[in-house]
Amino acid sequence: MAARILVVTSGKGGVGKTTAVANLSAALAQLGKQVVAVDADIGLRNLDVVMGLENRIVYDLVDVVEGRCKLRQALIRDKRLSGLFLLPAAQTRDKTAVSPTDMVRLTDQLRSHFDFILIDSPAGIERGFRNALAPADEVLIITNPEVAAVRDADRIIGLIEAEGKGPGRLIINRIKPEMVQRGDMLTTADVVEILAIPLIGIVPEDETILVSTNRGVPAVLNGRSPAGQAFRNIARRLLGEEVPFLPLTPSGGFLQRLKRLAFGGGTEGGV
């Protein structure tokens, strides 16, 4: 087993990185993979809450880096899904506690024990982002279909391209088909046109997400959650499966364009 290390990042805060990491990790574990989710948001940790594991934290990532415990001791095993683990962040420290080199050393230790390491990046472009990016083999950029989020995602893509980790793959989160149809929200095509990177998933706006994050039960465990379904599909695409995008509007033309965007392979804009 040599793990694939993915970082989920966005630039902008609040677009759904933590939700995506929690759900993708759970979905991959559901598909039989050994997965560890790593929270790199030191000082503002949330992944533990969203995964429902916060009251089982004894040691965290900073303890491991500073040598107060063994890596194994800091990993929390999810009791609902075998194969799913969490390495939580510290809440009482901040992002200066850990360096990019520390993160690489840490994930090197994890690599041989897992199929996937999913790193939850903090918002921003500073140290926390650099920490999360350093060990990554692949990057998932998550954004919302709104101008400010897309602006930040574009910045992030520029930064990861400059590091040689580009172009990354795109998840558009919290899309509201009714608003798109009314012309009040950016379409998937609008977003992909600016960002010009391959699209790996579209997740609809879904009330059940708020319930799931509050309760600490990832939405992929809920058969009736559309967002959960979307995340499960992304997990399958990560494994190389061709999964058609969920119909967001009844229009077949729209779906055809999405398929082309996802599987066509080409990007425009001279990137």
Binding site: D154, R155, G270
Partner: protein, 232 residues
């Protein structure tokens, strides 16, 4: 009444131009008059002196500097074309540079006729947060996303969609142009002129060239354009 002393506000402070004609003492007297007439205006101010061809020795420069200091005004630089003046002011520790007036640019001001003929070609899309600065022309084969910045001493030509901020003729050349297949920048500057895209941009994108005409920036679509206007 002919003005021996003209005062103009510029980005760096006050540009005080002293006539080349007449005796130095008369010029100083008039300058003193202006300073005492409106002390509040000058107090704490910074002055760049322009003396043109007038030859000045160290003593003369010291006189004007002390005069200014007495009125609480800092002499930032003294600019003169006479070699003796330049040498004397340098000896007193004054700089000669007046940075380019209102554009506050980082490139030396270039006369309109001598636009640098070198160009930089970039064959990718510029993303938000990326900035390209070059004293000659800049050509982008790709898009310029919102949040990206281009600053060129010469023209800016974007073979793609221009949505970031762009400054052509950044050294003061107001004959520079900005061209794009889809001209929709957040902000567009040519020389010291500035403008932004009009609000309604839902129509089909078409190639346009922006240039300064009659004191403002005008964008004309390719089909209607006469290139000879821009080519000079």
């Amino acid at each position: 009444m002919s003005e021996a002393v003209t005062i103009k506000g510029i980005r760096e402070g006050l540009l005080v131009t002293l006539t080349e004609a007449g005796p130095w003492t008369a010029v100083l007297a008039e300058l003193e008059q202006r300073l005492t007439a409106n002390p509040a205006f000058f107090k704490g101010g910074r002055v760049i002196l322009e003396v043109g061809d007038r030859p000045l020795d160290e003593a003369a420069i010291r006189q004007v500097r002390d005069l200014l200091v007495r009125h609480d005004v800092l002499l930032l630089a003294l600019h003169g074309r006479d070699e003796g003046t330049v040498a004397a002011s340098r000896a007193l520790g004054l700089t000669q540079e007046i940075s380019s007036a209102s554009s506050g640019s980082r490139f030396p001001p270039s006369p309109e006729e001598a636009v640098q003929e070198t160009g930089l070609v970039i064959q990718r899309t510029l993303r938000s947060g990326q900035r390209i600065e070059y004293p000659g022309h800049i050509i982008i084969l790709g898009d310029v996303n919102p949040g990206a910045e281009i600053v060129a001493g010469g023209h800016v030509i974007v073979w793609g969609r221009l949505q970031g901020t762009v400054h052509a003729g950044a050294g003061g050349n107001e004959r520079a142009v900005v061209c794009a297949l889809d001209l929709a920048p957040t902000q567009l500057r040519i020389g010291s002129y500035i403008t932004r895209s009009p609000e309604e941009r839902r129509r089909e994108p078409q190639p346009e060239m922006a240039m300064v005409q009659d004191g403002q920036i005008v964008a004309t679509p390719w089909a209607h354009h006469e290139f000879s206007k821009a080519a000079r």
